[in-house]
């Protein structure tokens, strides 16, 4: 029998000035109808494209997880070498104006809220600096009155000379605000859509500015337009059908790539873990599912940075070294002030891998990979008026 022709995806939205997402049910049907022949074709193609991504995310691809892992590992090693970039998060604030059914920081939750002063934030950062980190991710709940653009700008200016790269994961901002933060020394910004399923999005985002699906969806484009080096996207795994989320992420990546060719792209895979509020995942994602999603996206786009955070257990993270992810955190604490105070409490989520940087580094080295602490430079952060001074 001749090989089945690849389905025409019909969603070539790359030419559109705004990113559009198809109906979630259409994405689901695209991944569910893929055949084994399409999986094999995607695995042997250099550019599997959107149809190939759908096939690799499909149930039919589950039988070929081993082959996907091999291909993903080969592509990752070729593009990124035998290295793993290391970073650590600094939680700045647990205040949040949103009520999200799944989140430990949700406005309705009775936790002790805290926002770090500049001195406290700096001392948290310096603890990580002493541990050896030079790439930081600054994270906060979405409460602009507590951690707004002014706060982030001032903090970035205080930290940028001491760190090689500063990223943020905060509420969506306007383009001019992102541009201000870029000039202040922020390298990259992550805004996760949480889910590309509008229905599900509405169901779990109960109140607050985050309930605006479209403003969030357009954030990565604003970040890139503001000149940021890198944009991070992701879906919270455990909400809607992960296969369709994977395809939506592929569409988003492809659109961003066409419109912002200077911008690097990364994807994170936050998989739901127990948080305050006792939210149970609506569509649980297994480790096999997560692995399939990571391999599929790597095969789809060889150049994207892939994060696998300490949400996942040590055993799983060790197993995944070299198979696709390129960025690991270590020794993370998800409560504001958690590095300086042993028992700060009020985490956003519980970590699954509590090993120190040294311990994770040993695991990476034992797999034959080099844990890289510095792969950027503060010089790149000296934007704007400092440019002339340098």
């Amino acid at each position: 029998m001749p090989p089945h022709p690849p389905p025409r995806m019909g969603w070539d939205f790359c030419g559109n000035p705004m990113f559009m997402i198809p109906e979630f049910s259409a994405l689901q049907s695209a991944v569910s109808r893929a055949t084994e022949a399409e999986v094999l074709q995607a695995l042997s193609s250099n550019r599997p494209g959107m149809a190939g991504l759908a096939a690799l995310l499909s149930p039919a691809a589950e039988l070929h997880l081993g082959a996907m892992a091999k291909r993903s590992a080969a592509i990752t090693s070729q593009r990124f070498g035998r290295t793993m970039q290391m970073y650590a998060p600094v939680y700045l604030s647990s205040f949040c104006t949103n009520r999200c059914a799944y989140c430990g920081f949700s406005a309705g939750n009775a936790i002790d809220r805290r926002v770090l002063t500049f001195v406290e934030a700096e001392s948290e950062a310096m603890i990580l600096h002493q541990r050896g980190f030079s790439h930081l991710l600054l994270v906060s709940g979405e409460a602009p009155a507590k951690v707004g653009v002014d706060y982030l700008e001032k903090l970035a200016l205080r930290l940028r000379n001491r760190f090689a790269a500063l990223s943020i994961e905060v509420q969506p901002l306007a383009t001019e605000e992102y541009a201000r933060l870029f000039r202040a020394g922020i390298t990259s910004v992550a805004v996760y859509q949480e889910t590309y399923d509008r229905g599900m999005y509405k169901q779990v985002h109960l109140a607050g500015p985050k309930a605006d699906f479209d403003y969030r969806l357009e954030s990565p484009a604003r970040i890139a337009a503001a000149g940021m080096r890198e944009v991070g996207i992701g879906a919270l795994l455990g909400l809607a059908d992960w296969r369709a989320e994977g395809l939506a992420l592929g569409l988003h990546l492809a659109w961003l790539r066409k419109h912002y060719w200077r911008t690097g792209l990364t994807v994170s895979f936050p998989r739901m873990r127990p948080a305050q509020g006792e939210f149970k995942p609506l569509n649980p994602v297994s480790e096999r599912n997560l692995s399939q999603m990571i391999f599929a996206l790597r095969i789809f786009d060889p150049d994207i940075g892939l994060y696998l955070s300490t949400r996942e257990e040590a055993r799983y993270r060790d197993g995944m070294i070299g198979l696709g992810p390129t960025r690991y955190s270590a020794g993370s604490c998800t409560a504001p002030g958690g590095y300086g105070l042993a028992d700060a409490g009020g985490e956003q989520f519980e970590v699954g891998d509590s090993r120190s940087l040294a311990e994770v580094s040993v695991a990476i080295q034992q797999k034959g990979f080099d844990p890289v602490l510095k792969d950027w430079d503060a010089v790149f952060q000296l934007q704007g008026d400092r440019q002339q001074a340098a």
């Binding site: 035998r82 060719w261 080099d370």
Partner: protein, 255 residues
């Protein structure tokens, strides 16, 4: 012997420091390659930290240190990076990389030319990474580049010398040494570049991610040498028709 900006090199293979599984493997592979010039991404190292993982294993008496501006998106960023590196003891040799597209990492010809002009004026020994464009090579040479580094194929692709036709013209025209850089995935690829008359080659990914980087480094060193000797010895011309090895056919009438 190869001479670049007055400095002599016995080896025509230049090495890189990225993508290795550990600094120790890198050190051993570089030693096996016999190379004398090594490029290092300024973004990857901390020049002010003597305990830096790469700097501590690289003997700067043995290797000429060729910092590169990897990550720079435009001339301004590359220039800033170069100045700060020199101020921190990075030396005056510089591999200029201006790559605004983070995916293909292809060099921006316009920004590369601008940065070369400025940095050469400031006394840097600039070796620009460039697409294999013969006119650009001449422009960079006129702007003060001490060598040009045209790509064989996009970085990290292991596709070999896909730009053969342009590189042949660059070699024929350039006054400064021509170092084929990027995309050289196998010893046969570097042998090809050297047979064409390239002055040197730079290889990183193919050695760093090989099953055995140390043995692979040795294989590349041997291929560079073989290709160079073949070039110097004078290769036969390529012909579509079979040519008799004893050129007496048709001369049977001679007594």
């Amino acid at each position: 012997m190869l001479t670049i900006a007055g400095r002599k090199f016995r080896s025509r293979l230049f090495g890189g420091t990225g993508k290795f599984s550990s600094p120790e493997v890198m050190k051993e592979a570089l030693a096996a390659s016999g190379c004398e010039m090594v490029t290092v991404a300024l973004r990857r190292i901390d020049l002010n930290n003597p305990a830096d993982d790469i700097m501590r294993v690289l003997d700067r008496d043995r290797y000429l240190f060729l910092p590169n501006t990897s990550g720079a998106r435009d001339a301004g960023e590359a220039i800033r990076l170069a100045r700060l590196a020199r101020a921190s003891g990075g030396g005056e040799w510089l591999k200029l990389e201006v790559t605004p597209d983070p995916r293909t990492l292809l060099p921006d010809p316009i920004e590369t030319l601008k940065a070369t002009e400025e940095l050469a004026k400031e006394g840097f020994k600039v070796l620009p990474y460039m697409n294999a464009d013969p006119i650009l090579a001449l422009r960079l040479q006129d702007a003060g580049a001490v060598a040009v580094m045209p790509l064989g194929s996009p970085i990290g692709t292991n596709q070999g010398v896909l730009t053969r036709f342009q590189i042949e013209i660059i070699i024929a025209q350039a006054r400064v040494p021509v170092i084929v850089d990027a995309g050289l995935g196998a010893p046969s690829h570097v042998a090809e570049a050297m047979e064409m008359g390239a002055d040197a080659v730079l290889v990183n990914t193919a050695i760093a991610v090989a099953g055995d980087p140390v043995r692979m480094a040795r294989a590349f060193a041997m291929a560079v040498e073989a290709g160079r000797i073949a070039y110097e010895a004078g290769l036969g011309t390529v012909s579509k028709d079979a040519a008799p090895s004893s050129p007496e056919d048709g001369l049977g009438f001679l007594r």
